[in-house]
Symmetry: C2
Subunit: 212 residues, 2 copies
Amino acid sequence: MIKIAITDDHPIVIDGLLNALYDVSGIDVVATYNNGAALLKGLQEQPIDVLLLDLQLPDKNGAELVPIILNQYPDIHILILSGVESSSYIKEMIQKGCKGYLLKSNTDQPKLIAAIQEVYNGGVYLESAVKEQLLHEMLITKRKLDKINPKITQRELEILHLIMEELNNQEIADRLFISLRTVETHRYNLLQKLNAKNTTGMLRIARQMGIG
Amino acid sequence: MIKIAITDDHPIVIDGLLNALYDVSGIDVVATYNNGAALLKGLQEQPIDVLLLDLQLPDKNGAELVPIILNQYPDIHILILSGVESSSYIKEMIQKGCKGYLLKSNTDQPKLIAAIQEVYNGGVYLESAVKEQLLHEMLITKRKLDKINPKITQRELEILHLIMEELNNQEIADRLFISLRTVETHRYNLLQKLNAKNTTGMLRIARQMGIG
DNA sequence: TAAAAAATGAGTGGTAATACTTATGTATAG
DNA sequence: CTATACATAAGTATTACCACTCATTTTTTA
């Protein structure tokens, strides 16, 4: 018997989920909460296996809540049930330790049950639309910017790589047997070409272009 | 008519591909090469739409070859045909601008044709095994490092996020209604806790921990 | 081979970040 | 009720980085 808790601030969503999971063999919804505080309190007395968690809650959002929960109850399998299909959100949640990410918009009963069983058994559940989204994010990045992007020279690229390796200008100069001033010039030109305001921005853009 | 070139150092592979693509409507194999140099030379006189490229060539490997080709012929769609299913390879190749990655081990004629048509039409082709591999890679990262990780406070995390957004200390101070010196202190403590020597390193480590 | 692009490097000035230490109010947990 | 942790903030130096401009040499390409 998989013990489940539902947390969502919309009663309608909770009703829908209860309905979808009612009388399903092997699944038992033992609690529902409508905010983060209630959830954290409830977990103290009611142990669960799987948590269906909405990302947008009135008091705390999922990004804050998940680490707190997993820190105290590492064995709970968290299944995010969200309205937004944003790959950065999805990635963040999974990396924080959630076991799945469902979209409210297209999750029906069979999917929901499949997801619950999958995460309960130690797997990760992502529906195919979400998978596609992630892959797209991961792979596309580069070439579109590539056209717009002013071409970075070989030497500039080398310097970019060394900056990524956390070398400072002096260390880069020593490594490449060139003057500190030359490194500064290359670096300045990189900032211009990538239209970045500082090193952080430069590296972010570079990463988006697939460098690194 | 999609004009195709094949590059592989194994004649048997070339024969197999020729055979698979022979007499397929809309597809025309116009050249075959068995090393990188021959390919680069051939491209000068024989324009193509799609390149089937083996990663392991005797003279140059794919990682070197692809940027050279795409730099000179940005409109060629490169389809990697490799024996190794390594996600880092796959990612690297796609990010360098390749449009697809096929495994020699399980590519049959229909798959091959589908892939060629997909990339010719501007898409990216990855077979499902490869997709799964990539997703796995992408999502696993976090939790193992999570245990080791020194505890970063809520406020420090906030500041880390704002640094990632390319704000400087003054801007962060203004945003959080605190003093510049306080931001500097938090930032200093972050560098210590993450054991980083500069902002670049700090952000790299943070990313590895799944922050961002 | 001329023209363009890339790599090299310096001048000069300014701003931001890093490297510490010390300290205080405040919340929190034992 | 008292350690402990956290957020806050200042003092004092030093170093790194950013912002430009200009100039020379080398390499690439037309």
